[in-house]
């Protein structure tokens, strides 16, 4: 080896060494796109503070995340929904709470509905807003597809014992839903706070008199919310447990991304 080549090799090794020597922990996360922004923001901050940890975050959907973590293809499976019964060995870490709202086109002329009225509207028993205190305007119901996590939360928290909905207009992304509601007179649908709080041309409805706000979610006055879960395959390793704890406690990241911290909740799933 010539001298210059040897020098070049040393220089190269020196350049690579820091990352190779210190990045001795790598964590991978995949799943829910609703939870992804929070995990990503927490991961960015965590990596800045701990240069020896490398965290990769991808989406794919809740069910994809669950199947990836059960096959140990990733360390963390992000999910809006509970892992189905019979999924062995998965450990649930509730990391955040996310609120959803029922949104209407302003032409509906209503500010709030009772749960019963929401049920009557989505089962198509009521088809005109005037029957629930609004204007004389036909109701256009927009749903999410059957496999959607948001739809699952909607069914569980607002629809009571009703377990199937009649077929209606269906849009498969939060953005498209909000756009359709804004553009269709008398339309009604549901989406996460992050998609509806700052959207123009739609109004968020109060449910049973409680407005769709973070505060009402925390105190349990407003029912339409859900836990966000991170699943690990078996008990988490020390490094992974440290990251999950950091994510749950990182108030700044929660403020920035609009999720609700578990510790701010004054109610739990069982007494919502």
């Amino acid at each position: 080896m010539s001298r210059s080549a040897r020098l070049a090799a040393i220089a190269l090794a020196a350049a690579i060494a820091p990352s190779a020597a210190f990045a001795d922990t790598s964590i991978s996360a995949a799943g829910s796109t609703a939870l992804q922004p929070l995990v990503q923001a927490a991961a960015d901050e965590y990596q800045q503070k701990n240069s020896d940890v490398k965290i990769s975050v991808t989406g794919g959907g809740s069910r994809t995340g669950l199947s990836l973590v059960s096959s140990k293809a990733v360390d963390l499976g992000d999910s809006d929904i509970l892992a189905p019964d019979g999924t062995n060995g998965l450990v649930d870490h509730k990391v955040a709470v996310i609120g959803f709202s029922v949104v209407v086109n302003p032409a509906a002329g209503v500010k709030g509905l009772s749960k019963k009225q929401v049920q009557d509207i989505f089962t198509l028993k009521v088809t005109n807003w005037k029957d629930v205190g609004g204007k004389d305007q036909q109701i256009t119901v927009i749903n999410r597809p059957a496999s959607s996590g948001t739809r699952a939360v909607f069914m569980k928290t607002l629809m009571g014992s009703i377990d199937t909905l009649p077929p209606t207009l269906t849009e498969d992304a939060t953005g498209t839903v909000v756009q359709k509601v804004a553009q269709t007179a008398g339309a009604v649908s549901y989406a996460s706070f992050s998609g509806t709080h700052n959207a123009s041309g739609v109004s968020e409805l109060a449910i049973d008199g409680a407005a769709a706000t973070e505060d009402n979610v925390m105190t349990g006055k407003y029912p339409f919310w859900s836990y966000e879960h991170i699943y690990t395959n078996g008990p988490p390793s020390k490094d992974i447990a440290k990251f999950i704890a950091f994510l749950q406690e990182d108030t700044a990241v929660f403020k920035k991304t609009g999720y609700i911290q578990i510790r701010d909740m004054k109610v739990t799933e069982n007494n919502r």
Partner: protein, 294 residues
Amino acid sequence: MVGVRASKAHRDEGIALVVLMSCSALFVIAIALILGFLAFNGTRLFWGDHYSPLKFLFGTDWDGFGGHYGAATFIAGSLVATGMAIAIGGPLGVAIGVFFSELAPKRVATAFKPAIEVLVGIPSVVYGWLGLTLLVPAIATVFHLPDGDGLLAAGIVLSIMILPTVISLSEDALRVVPNSLREGSAALGATRWETITKVLLPSASSGIAVAVILGVARAIGETLAVQLVLGNAAILPTSLLKPAAALTSEIVMDMGDAPDGSGFKHALFAMAFLLLLISMGLILLIRLALRRRT
């Protein structure tokens, strides 16, 4: 010296043959694997979950998580939307093809042909988005509906999307008609219109049929643009102004999140397999049309 060169050429040719043959073999294997995978997973609903194929094809009861997999609403939606696309885009496309091949002055043709080629390259999400933001509200206004989503919107968007295919293929079909036929027709005293309708279109008919069939194939497989404007409601289409659902749009909405190994997933695979069978049927039709020509 000459002998050396010849043997080297022989060797090169041998290498080229092996390389090209393995490329084609790889391609054939890939296609066979895709077909096999879809055939296996697409029929699993019937032999694995014991769901009746008749109920799948003709049932209208669709509830993925509830064990009801009647796909008739999606099949009907796909067929009606495609039918409308052909009803609008077929005659229009052939007419424009006739114009470019027989009537247009050279300068006009050279100016407009690139524009049509650009139409081919526009991504389908752009067509869908334009449909969602311009066409759907327009339909709602014209027909006094709260919402303009539905088969009419999907049919119009699809007809625009298949136009480039139909135009360029029918133009090509007309261009290969020998000039002697045009001249003979003129010599017999036929007008230009008579020449086109009585001589040129009949002799180019198999090529035009291919153009239309390829348009059908394009329309029935289109997903994104359809999903954005169709409304995706699993209801049997009773009116062109009501929302409906198509095979492709239902697959794209639920495939990602339907649990692996469930009947729901198998039903979506069965719908994909059905689409594959339809397009294979269309390719067979094209073969038949081309055989008639030769």
